[in-house]
């Protein structure tokens, strides 16, 4: 199985995408992160799920996580509602967040090349791009895991 077989078209977010839409893209597609595109629509960065989660948590609670304990249920809900006041750009500008550039693979790269790259770059998505730079979609971590599981199961069947 090659990278081209695993690549899929994902909804991309941009710097201006509001936080609610970004979270929706994350949950609807069962992803472990969202891919941020630049102004030309080219995938540029990956924000992981836990980085995205920061949009729902005030900065002072990130600084002092013990403060999360003092909110009651209504207070916690009020905080989460503030999600709509944020955009993906807020995360990209946050000095505590280090979004990772989307690593690129070739369409003919194997699953082990994809897995090695994702581990090394600690990213849940890689961009499949051929040698002339034409993008062929994104391989996500869940998709790669499914492929690995499929290969492992097939191996069990043979032995």
């Amino acid at each position: 199985m090659r990278a081209a077989d695993l690549a899929e078209d994902l909804p991309l977010v941009t710097r201006d995408t509001d936080a609610v839409s970004a979270v929706r893209a994350f949950t609807r597609n069962d992803l472990t992160g969202v891919v941020v595109a630049d102004a030309d629509g080219v995938p540029e960065m990956v924000l992981t799920g836990t980085q995205l989660l920061r949009l729902a948590v005030p900065g002072y609670v990130m600084t002092d996580p013990r403060l999360a304990h003092v909110y009651d249920e209504a207070g916690a809900a009020e905080l989460v509602e503030q999600l709509r006041d944020h955009t993906v750009g807020d995360l990209l500008d946050d000095t505590e967040v280090t979004p990772r550039p989307v690593p690129c693979v070739l369409p003919e790269d194997t699953v082990i090349e994809l897995a090695a790259l994702m581990c090394a770059e600690r990213t849940p998505a890689v961009l499949v791009r051929d040698r002339d730079g034409t993008p062929h979609g994104v391989v996500t971590l869940p998709r790669l895991m499914s492929a690995i599981l499929g290969i492992a199961d097939a191996g069990d069947g043979r032995s």
Partner: protein, 433 residues
């Protein structure tokens, strides 16, 4: 002066300039300066490592290290978060009352702990309370930074310059309590009055918002009550040991290290938790600084300056006290007060020792402490606590400009430092002589 002395003075001046202008990192500057002193023969290993006066003052280093570890344990308890939320609820969400209670908590905590740690702990919970109240947090944060510098002035362990002064002058924890705490209490009363005037536009009261504050559950901040009681017990024992120094003769640095060891033992926390709060950079900076200043002491530069100053002053201690108080305040407003006090304290020691011992001579130490500690309030860069608060505010979307901070800080510094002068005059010259 010999060529070597001139070279040492040049090394010191260049290094000081680099530290003051922040052209290079202060640790690099201090270590570079110390290395240059060794290379030109102004000091050697024996003096640098084993002479309290001419090298690294390990009393200061280990006192700081011990207190940092104790704070590292204490801050895992959630006590600061508890106190701040409790205060906001106790004030029934009235913004001025909330500010008063928060600055009092900050000042008292700063008297016992490092100022930077105190504001690091109190600023996030202040942002939370202000968000609940719908009031602008900047006045509260600025007030807390100013309060931490005032409160830290009260004790030996409250501010690093006090630790240096105590070690150089041989002053005890009780000396600081007796000589500085009374004026600090008075200054806090005045400061609270100033808060009412300076930050009056921030005290918007919205009764509907108050319910959001009253709904906060402060007890939830304390996740491990056993850890809290153990940490507080250790802190109490350390403070009692500081106070009992005249009886036990155990040096503050030893008390702090024993306290740190006990805190680590009874807390059972992993080392990464309590060591995360040790400011290794600050400790190394101190070491470099002590080697540099010690080199000047070793070459007799400080003694020559002290003799010249003593001759010029000719026993006029009130003039010297006045100059030290206001001069230190002005210098501390623009440069870090730690290198300033490290440099000036041997000189003050010579001045104090040049005449008959007594309250008038010892007033110089208190003038130095008050000027250096309180002067830091004048600008956004005058004290580490100010820099930390400005940074936290910016990260949370409430930027505080240099001039915005300075507008408040300058007024507070000018008034508090000026109030110290009649205190020094009355206590050490009118009634002390």
């Amino acid at each position: 002066m010999t060529a070597q002395t001139w070279a040492a003075v040049a090394v010191f001046a260049v290094t000081y300039l680099l530290i003051a202008t922040e052209r290079v990192h202060r640790v690099m500057a201090a270590l570079g300066g110390a290395a240059a002193m060794v290379l030109i023969g102004a000091t050697d290993g024996e003096s640098a490592f084993f002479s309290e006066a001419e090298g690294i003052d390990w009393n200061v280093i280990f006192l700081l290290l011990g207190m940092m570890i104790i704070v590292g344990v204490l801050q895992q308890t959630g006590i600061f978060e508890f106190l701040a939320v409790w205060a906001a609820k106790r004030a029934r969400g009235r913004p001025f009352r909330v500010m008063v209670l928060l600055v009092l908590i900050t000042a008292m905590a700063s008297a016992l702990l490092d100022n930077v740690t105190t504001v690091l702990l109190i600023a996030p919970v202040t942002l939370l309370v202000c968000e609940r109240l719908g009031t602008p947090p900047v006045p509260f944060l600025v007030a807390e930074a100013l309060a931490s510098n005032i409160g830290g002035t009260a004790t030996l362990v409250g501010d690093p310059p006090n630790i240096i002064i105590a070690s150089r002058a041989g002053l005890s924890f009780n000396d600081f309590l007796v000589h500085l705490a009374p004026i600090v209490v008075l200054l806090m009363v005045v400061f609270i009055g100033l808060c009412r005037v300076l930050f009056r536009s921030a005290f918007r009261y919205d009764p509907q918002r108050v319910t959001r504050v009253m709904a906060l559950e402060e007890r939830e901040a304390i996740t491990d009550p056993r850890l809290l009681w153990r940490a507080l017990a250790v802190l109490a024992m350390v403070l009692v040991a500081f106070v009992l120094h005249p009886v036990t003769h155990i040096e503050p640095a030893v008390v702090a290290l024993l306290g740190a060891g006990l805190a680590v033992l009874v807390s059972g926390l992993p080392s990464r938790d309590y060591l995360a709060d040790v400011e290794w950079e600050t400790l190394v900076f101190f070491m470099g600084l002590f080697v540099m200043v010690g080199s000047l002491v070793r070459l007799g530069v400080i003694e020559d300056l002290g003799t010249a100053a003593a001759e010029a002053l000719d026993g006029r201690y009130l003039l010297a006290s006045t100059g030290l108080l206001f001069g230190s305040a002005v210098l501390s407003a623009v440069v870090d007060n730690i290198p300033y006090v490290a440099t000036v304290s041997p000189l003050v020691g010579d001045l104090v020792g040049s005449g008959p011992a007594g309250p008038q001579a010892s007033s110089l130490w208190w003038a130095l402490a008050l000027g250096a500690d309180l002067g830091g309030n004048a600008t956004a860069v005058g004290a580490s606590a100010n820099v930390v608060v400005v940074g936290i505010a910016a990260r949370n979307g409430h930027p505080i400009s240099f001039w915005q901070f300075t507008r408040y800080g300058l007024v507070v510094a000018a008034i508090t430092v000026t109030l110290c002068w009649p205190y020094l005059w009355l206590r050490y010259f009118v009634f002390g002589g």
